[in-house]
């Protein structure tokens, strides 16, 4: 096991003297209550746990993670992207067409799930209005980490032909961080698959 890094001591900041405070020498000294031994040991044990955890993580980070663990999980993550099954506008039809017999996105392990809890990819397929914006953010927050967002089509990218309208969010990247933009109005199913493949190359180089 590597060296144990001590837990960072919490610096004790003396309270700033209040306005008009005067030191008075004749105040009686108050005895500090003695801390029981067991309590001290408990504190030490409590400190040990995060320290050990950190050391263990550091060990993994130094040796195993870079070569084995991270590539493995990246491989798994990029080969089974579950997009959220929801349709916003026109692109949703092409999104559905990508799972049809001809294009068959399931070849790459892409299976749409209806519940955001089970998804790791949100494909924003259509125009996002201000009315639906907070629901989109909720859905995004309900997805567990690690998660990705694809802005599919021009409406999600920047509002598209409707960006001047009073009710449209000019691009979903104003609401959630976007990883890949797919241009097209709407993009062909092949273009959508191509976007997901591009996201997979991003995940392959992921360093986290």
């Amino acid at each position: 096991m590597g060296h144990l890094t001590p837990a960072t001591p919490v610096p004790k900041v003396a309270p700033p003297p209040a306005e008009g405070y005067q030191l008075m020498g004749d105040l009686p000294m108050v005895d500090q209550p003695a801390v029981p031994f067991i309590e001290i040991e408990t504190v030490r044990a409590k400190e040990f746990i995060p320290a050990a955890k950190e050391a263990f993580t550091a060990l993994l980070a130094e040796q195993g993670q870079a070569k084995v663990i991270r590539p493995t999980f990246n491989w798994a993550g990029r080969n089974s992207l579950f997009p959220l099954h929801w349709g916003l506008a026109c692109c949703a039809i092409e999104f559905a067409a990508a799972f049809s017999a001809r294009h068959d996105a399931e070849r790459f392990g892409i299976v749409p799930r209806s519940s955001p809890r089970q998804c790791d990819l949100m494909i924003v397929n259509g125009t996002v209005t201000w009315k639906v914006a907070h629901k989109l953010i909720t859905l995004y927050e309900q997805m567990p980490e690690p998660k990705w967002v694809i802005a599919m089509g021009n409406c999600a990218t920047g509002g598209g032909p409707f960006r001047t309208a009073y009710s449209v969010v000019p691009g979903v990247d104003k609401l959630v961080p976007v990883d890949v933009y797919i241009a097209g109005c709407p993009p062909r199913p092949e273009a959508m698959i191509d976007g997901i493949l591009k996201l997979e190359t991003l995940i392959r180089e992921r360093k986290e």
Partner: protein, 376 residues
């Protein structure tokens, strides 16, 4: 039961290991290590590990099999880019879900939320310790193994309901309620259909039932019971057309709406474990288990691997039937499901019991035997 069983293999393995280890040490420790109880315990552990690995791998391959089959039914290819023909796809899915963030909705009940999936998974796994896969699979001389298997099998909806209730979601709750209703409706005909098998074979022991089918498989004479059993099994496995608890169209994902990450993987895996158990039960009860027409029984016993392979081929074929049904039928509604269960399935299963009794009485079983037996 002669020949080498899997349990005897692991027993031998354990004794060799412990004897070898014990020979290093001086007497008192040597005595402790070569204690027969310890050997037996280790043997059980090894046996369990083998079972666990076998069932897990089989389940994952089963998912692959379903995806590929469904793909062809739907005029597409299914998973094909991860590994050879997509064989590694499900391993990637599992690893990814393992890596995902684990979380719990704030308003949910902590104990039920975590314990539900685990218990669901465990009860599905336990059944594998009972099922004889081949004549040489385990010693499994439990006289009531069939009843035990079915009893454990019917635990699951309870845990589904617990996890559905504790995840504090309206959709989950409705899924859980449906699941409970479905369990009650389909447990009875399922058991009655099994009674027909028991009447004919005269035993509750799965291994004995299979050996009874050495000459003729039961699906010919007990066709009615087979139909009832398959329908009930579909309902128990919660697959289309009886997949109401997770009906995707109206209840978002049913009772696992709020589950993600590893807990969701538990659910997924346990679902397919149950599908595997269901297929295995169909094979055991109606399709002759590991017996093969034209095979001398002693040959199968002495070479269990061939029996296992033959058994798995049958199991996967039965599962293919389930996939076929899934590909071509819509799902039924709750009240229709219950009506089918109470009004049609139970009379049918009762009829099958009477039929089986009549068959036994008139001793005309070999007439209906679908496969001629060389032995008799």
């Amino acid at each position: 039961m002669g020949g080498a069983t899997l349990f005897s293999v692991s027993d031998t393995l354990a004794s060799v290991l412990l004897n070898g280890l014990g020979s290093i040490f001086p007497q008192p420790i040597h005595g402790w290590l070569t204690n027969p109880d310890l050997i037996l315990g280790l043997a059980v552990l090894i046996f369990g590990a083998i079972l666990l690995a076998a069932s897990m791998i089989n389940t994952i391959v089963l998912i692959w099999w379903e995806r590929k089959l469904l793909g062809r039914f739907m005029d597409r290819r299914g998973a094909m880019h991860v590994g050879y023909a997509g064989l590694l796809q499900n391993f990637a899915d599992g690893l990814k879900l393992f890596r995902k963030n684990t979380f719990r909705p704030r308003e949910s009940d902590s104990l039920g939320f975590y314990a539900g999936p685990v218990a669901y998974m465990v009860t599905s796994l336990i059944i594998f310790g009972i099922l004889p896969i081949s004549s040489g699979w385990n010693s499994g001389a439990l006289p009531l193994s069939l009843l035990l298997a079915l009893a454990i099998f019917s635990f699951a909806p309870l845990f589904i309901f617990v996890s559905a209730w504790s995840s504090n979601n309206k959709y989950s709750l409705m899924g859980g309620m449906r699941s409970a209703a479905q369990m009650i409706a389909y447990e009875v005909p399922l058991l009655l259909a099994v009674v027909a098998v028991v009447v004919v074979s005269g035993s509750f022991d799965l291994a004995t039932i299979v050996q009874e089918q050495q000459n003729y498989w039961f699906w010919g004479p007990l066709f009615l019971a087979l139909v009832v059993f398959v329908a009930g099994m579909l309902a128990e496995m919660e697959r289309i057309p009886f997949d109401l608890p997770e009906a995707e169209a109206e209840l978002v994902e049913g009772w696992n709406t709020e589950y993600g990450g590893m807990l969701f993987a538990f659910f997924m895996l346990a679902d397919y474990l149950r599908a595997l158990v269901g297929s295995i039960l169909v094979v055991l009860l109606f399709l002759g288990g590991w017996t093969m027409p034209g095979w001398v029984p002693s040959a199968a016993t002495s070479f269990p691997l061939a029996g296992i392979v033959w058994f798995m081929v049958k199991t996967y074929a039965v599962f293919g039937l389930f996939v076929w049904i899934r590909a071509s039928l819509p799902r039924v509604r709750t009240d229709q499901l219950l009506r089918i269960g109470w009004n049609r399935m139970i009379p049918l299963s009762l009829a099958s019991v009477f039929l089986a009794a009549a068959l036994v009485l008139v001793r005309c079983l070999p007439v209906f035997g679908c496969l001629p037996s060389p032995g008799v």
